[in-house]
């Protein structure tokens, strides 16, 4: 009985010490994990990346159109946009479709690079700039390749970020 009492004691002490150390580590780790998960900068960074991905995809969609799959292409234009830009596309759809059918062109676009220039997470607005290479193939002649400097405005909707304005960066306006 005496021997058992003597050996159990350090064991209990050691086990208690280990448990206390483990509890401390668990507490610290839990705090670290909470801190990492509730980082404002991280959610802002995520919104930036989401906006850029959506913006690049939308700009690419807006520069891609095949006269053979015209309806599908124009649907994708409308899906990529919101607000005024969306209304303009819906209003001008029929007239534009006629032009493309007549011209029989196929446009494909490749995003070379893109960046978010501004982001207001609370208002749900973002500005993007996209460097684009567009290839337009007409029935006759070689495909025409041009590079486009696109500036877009994105608005956050219930279905994610969508383009509310899109245009080419103007040339020569600021130089001189």
């Amino acid at each position: 009985m005496a021997r058992a009492g003597k050996t159990r004691n350090p064991l209990v002490i050691a086990a208690t010490a280990l448990a206390v150390v483990a509890a401390g580590a668990a507490g610290w780790g839990g705090w670290q994990r909470y801190d990492a998960a509730h980082d404002d900068a991280a959610s802002y960074a995520q919104a930036r990346d989401d906006a850029l991905a959506a913006g690049e995809q939308a700009v690419q969609n807006m520069n891609t159109l095949d006269h053979r799959t015209l309806e599908k292409g124009l649907d994708s234009w409308e899906e990529s946009t919101t607000g005024d830009l969306h209304r303009q596309l819906v209003d001008g759809r029929d007239a534009f479709a006629k032009q493309i059918v007549a011209a029989k062109t196929v446009s494909t676009a490749k995003v070379l690079s893109g960046a978010v220039t501004e982001l207001d997470e609370r208002a749900g607005r973002a500005g993007v700039m996209v460097a684009l290479r567009v290839t337009v193939t007409a029935p006759k002649g070689d495909p025409a390749v041009k590079e486009s400097r696109m500036l877009g405005t994105l608005t956050r909707t219930s279905e994610g970020w969508k383009l509310s304005a899109l245009g080419q960066a103007p040339v020569g306006s600021t130089a001189g």
Binding site: V12, G30, A37, S113, E118, A131, A169
Partner: protein, 245 residues
């Protein structure tokens, strides 16, 4: 070894076995008793002597009420290390998960990139690189030295040679055509920013003025990306990506 104790034991023994004591010679009996007494004394002595030591030791234990340890308490006491070990394992497992999870969250690519999230750095690199692009892609036939100085100040690494190649034609033609090339950044965005490294997308306008016989200005739209590195307290262009196929 106390002699009094020996005597007491011997007397007790002699009293309990009078017949043997009578038959056997006294001297023999005495030595036999002496040896048995010694051995028994030694085997029984340690617990008897330790008895008082164990009492305070038991008192130090978590349950001090153990006067005579009852079975449930003894069971609890033997289980305590096991419970503590289990607790340690669980807490340790949680801690391991929490640390690795926190680390993986922090290592997400979105967080590594501090473009826009670090407002000060983002505007700093945009401002410096905008100035640098304007300086190194501008050229005045009247003061070519200024262009060299700008290149030395704002370029580093691979960008030095790239810039030299890009401006080679302008340099060759400039004196004859009295060429003035002016580059102005119209839009720039930080694609990536991590500490001392950044990548920017640049839209720039280039006006090319020939001030020879008849003055003529042409505008050109340029778009390219630059890799920037921070050296000391300023940003320099390290590479120029013109998206060539």
């Amino acid at each position: 070894m106390s002699t009094t104790r020996h005597l007491v034991n011997r007397r007790r023994r002699l009293a309990t076995s009078p017949s043997r004591a009578a038959v056997a010679p006294v001297s023999d009996e005495e030595t036999a008793a002496e040896t048995t007494e010694e051995t028994t004394e030694e085997t029984t002595a340690p617990p008897g002597l330790r008895e008082p030591e164990t009492v305070p030791e038991q008192g130090q234990e978590p349950e001090p009420e153990s006067d005579g340890t009852t079975p449930p308490q003894r069971r609890l006491r033997s289980r305590l290390p096991v419970l503590l070990c289990a607790l340690t394992v669980l807490l340790g497992a949680f801690a391991t998960w929490a640390f690795t999870s926190a680390a993986s969250l922090r290592d997400e690519p979105a967080r590594q990139n501090t473009a826009l999230t670090d407002i000060a750095r983002t505007s700093e690199v945009k401002g410096r690189i905008g100035e640098a692009v304007g300086a190194v892609f501008s050229y005045d036939y009247a003061s070519p030295a200024r262009s060299d100085r700008a290149a030395k100040t704002h370029l580093t690494g691979r960008a030095v040679q790239q810039h030299k190649d890009m401006l080679a034609e302008v340099r060759a033609q400039a004196p004859q055509q009295k060429l003035v090339l002016t580059t102005t950044v119209t839009a720039s965005g930080v694609e990536y920013l991590d500490g001392d490294r950044a990548r920017l997308l640049i839209f720039a306008d280039q006006s090319n003025t020939r001030t020879g016989k008849d003055e003529e200005t042409t505008f050109a739209a340029a778009m390219f990306a630059v890799d920037a590195v921070r050296r000391g307290d300023t940003w320099r262009i390290a590479a120029i990506d013109t998206f060539t196929r």
